[in-house]
């Protein structure tokens, strides 16, 4: 019961942008994909979700995602894209309700409101989606994604959340709120794979970090192993010093270290 990718290569036009990536995520954990701009994080995510054509195989709980039907996949994993367009003036609850389309949870009328409360948007049901701020829209989409795979574990295995920069347009309080929500989902047995930008937020909540550089995995392991002075400085191309936090908290990086160097 894992989300496993083997030998993933992706070509965009004539250039190969991912060069044979092996990646695995376990249920019950938050697996973060991090790396500099253009390192292939989002492309890897798009391969894992089947959005781009790729070489190699991606399996969710042993099912090859290229071979199973769309609705079967939708029942097992929900995807939060980095940017979403919305045509037509749907209300927030109508957008969230679209997550119920897979029919896994039937048409439980309470789910959309519960999911909205989870992401801090209780009472936003009848607002027009397009009138929300960017961060609110992002959280509304997260609610839609949550509704799609509401129970972290079902009879036939864990459910998966695949999130492409879920906190990119959020303020710090909502960043923490969303990351804690996602961590709870994993703690209850679900699997979470998230493309992340913020190294400290990642260190705080991820069990495993896949650090990418130039279309390859440079390091893959728990935050303590991946976040070292040497690895981070090399990958990001600037001098970074990792500091130890007190009392067993994960390490952190301050941009100040690069500025001072």
């Amino acid at each position: 019961m894992t989300l496993q990718a083997r030998g993933i290569t992706v070509r965009l036009g004539r250039t190969e942008v991912l060069h044979g990536i092996d990646f695995v995520a376990q249920p019950g954990e938050v697996t973060a994909i991090v790396g500099p701009n253009g390192s292939g994080k989002t492309t890897l995510m798009r391969a894992l979700t089947g959005e781009v054509s790729y070489g190699g195989t991606v399996e969710i709980d042993g099912l090859d995602i290229a071979r199973v039907k769309g609705w079967e996949l939708a029942a097992r994993r929900a995807v939060l894209p980095q940017a979403t367009v919305l045509a037509f003036p749907f209300t927030v609850v109508e957008v969230v309700r679209m997550g119920l389309m897979t029919g896994v949870h039937g048409d439980d009328p309470t789910l959309p409101s519960r999911a909205l409360a989870e992401v801090g948007l209780a009472g936003y049901e009848s607002r027009f989606f397009q009138e929300l701020s960017g961060g609110e829209q992002q959280r509304a989409h997260l609610a839609r994604v949550l509704v799609q795979v509401w129970k972290p574990v079902a009879k036939d295995g864990p459910r998966w959340l695949l999130l492409d920069e879920p906190v990119s347009s959020l303020d710090i309080a909502h960043q923490l709120e969303v990351m804690e929500l996602v961590a709870r989902y994993a703690a209850r047995g679900g699997g979470v794979v998230a493309v992340m930008h913020d190294l400290n937020l990642t260190a705080l909540h991820a069990h495993r970090i896949a650090l990418m550089k130039d279309g390859r995995l440079r390091a893959f392991g728990p935050p303590g192993e991946v976040m070292t002075d040497g690895i981070l400085s090399e990958v990001y191309g600037c001098r970074l010093r990792v500091s130890a936090a007190p009392e067993g908290l994960p390490p952190f990086v301050l941009p100040h270290t690069a500025a001072l160097a």
Binding site: T84, A87, F88, P89, F90, M98, S126
Partner: protein
């Protein structure tokens, strides 16, 4: 107790779910269609009275030959054709807009209408060169059949151009539609130069659209195809909702996007081709009806498509009644009436929602 109260206020704060309103609209719009249908049967250039005829039927009295002809051979097929065409124009519009994720998309926009028009013009202008025997056989069917094939052909060409490896690019399809429409218009223009006076009159009338030539024959030509397309469209609703979030997200929601797109394109081609074939180019119904319904009950396609069919049929019948009485005993082409009703509504919608991202 206090908590229960809070819960109750919350529930009330969410205004009656638009879904409920949209479902209630099915009933209201069906009643509207019934009312307009009655009006359509009752009103006409001849003096035949629907009520007198109904009274006679109730008492078992024989109808006069005039009453029989006017009611059963003129007004009833016209009513049936109006319902079929109105519903198919509105639903084709709604499906096309869902497919293109653009509230201004319309089959007229992607060349289906222009292709059908070219077919009809070809038949009107060059039909005279056909052997007399053949004309005797096809007769009245020639123009509608040619328009129908024109609509189909343009959809198929469009589809071939814009589909690569099983994926349709919406942008390519829109642009190709504009190109096809321009080409069909140019060829039509050349043909118009070859037309004589009588043909020019036919062309003008056909181009503006009319239900005047309604007959059971035309109902039989267009009916099965339109009904099939409308029935198929009812299965597209959920998928089109998901598509509003973009193709990738629709796929993640478990929708077979390629199948959805194929279905939508075929549905639109069949419904528009058949409708244009029997009634000419009737504009604005496909854009105005879904717009008004989205304003009233929201963009949810699971209810929008059926409501569009009902309101589209009502609107077209109403326009037809107006076209029959306004300069009686002569008739105005229905396309003029829909344009006069439709274009101000359309402009009003544009102005009112100009500030909104999605129109």
């Amino acid at each position: 107790m206090a908590e229960a109260d809070i819960g109750a206020t919350r529930a009330a704060a969410i205004p009656a779910d638009r879904r409920t309103r949209a479902r209630q609209a099915h009933i209201w719009l069906a009643l509207l269609l019934l009312a307009v249908s009655t009006a359509s049967l009752a009103v006409g250039a001849s003096g035949a009275s629907l009520w007198a005829a109904l009274g006679k039927m109730a008492t078992g009295e024989e109808l006069s030959a005039m009453e029989r002809v006017v009611l059963f051979d003129i007004r009833l097929p016209r009513l049936a054709l109006g319902i079929l065409v109105g519903a198919s124009l509105a639903v084709s519009g709604a499906v096309m807009q869902g497919l293109f994720r653009n509230p201004l998309a319309d089959p007229g926009l992607v060349g289906v209408g222009a292709g059908a028009g070219l077919g009809a013009i070809t038949a009107i202008v060059l039909g005279g060169f056909l052997p007399v025997m053949l004309i005797d056989v096809i007769g009245n069917w020639m123009v509608p059949v040619a328009a129908f094939f024109g609509g189909w052909a343009s959809t198929l060409i469009l589809y071939r151009v814009s589909t690569r490896r099983g994926r349709t690019s919406v942008a390519t399809m829109l642009l190709a539609g504009i190109a096809l429409g321009a080409l069909a218009g140019a060829v039509s223009g050349i043909l118009v130069y070859r037309a004589d006076d009588q043909q020019l009159r036919d062309l003008t009338f056909w181009g503006l659209g009319s239900l005047a030539g309604a007959s059971w024959e035309k109902v039989m030509i267009a009916g099965p195809m339109i009904l099939l397309a409308l029935a198929a469209s009812l299965f597209l609703g959920r998928g089109l909702n998901g598509l509003a979030l973009g193709e990738a997200t629709a796929h993640h929601l478990g929708i077979d996007v390629q199948r959805l797109k194929n279905g939508a394109i075929l549905m639109v081609a069949a419904a528009t081709g058949a409708a244009v074939a029997v009634s000419g180019g009737i504009g604005f119904v496909g854009i105005v009806v879904p717009h008004l319904l989205r304003l009233a009950t929201g963009p949810d396609h699971t209810t929008l498509l059926l409501n569009s069919a009902l309101l589209g049929a009502s609107l077209l019948l109403l326009a037809d009644v107006i076209s029959r009485v306004i300069i009686a005993p002569a008739e105005l082409p229905i396309g003029i009436v829909t344009a006069v009703i439709g274009s101000p509504v359309f402009l009003w919608i544009l102005l009112r929602r100009r500030g909104m991202v999605d129109l």
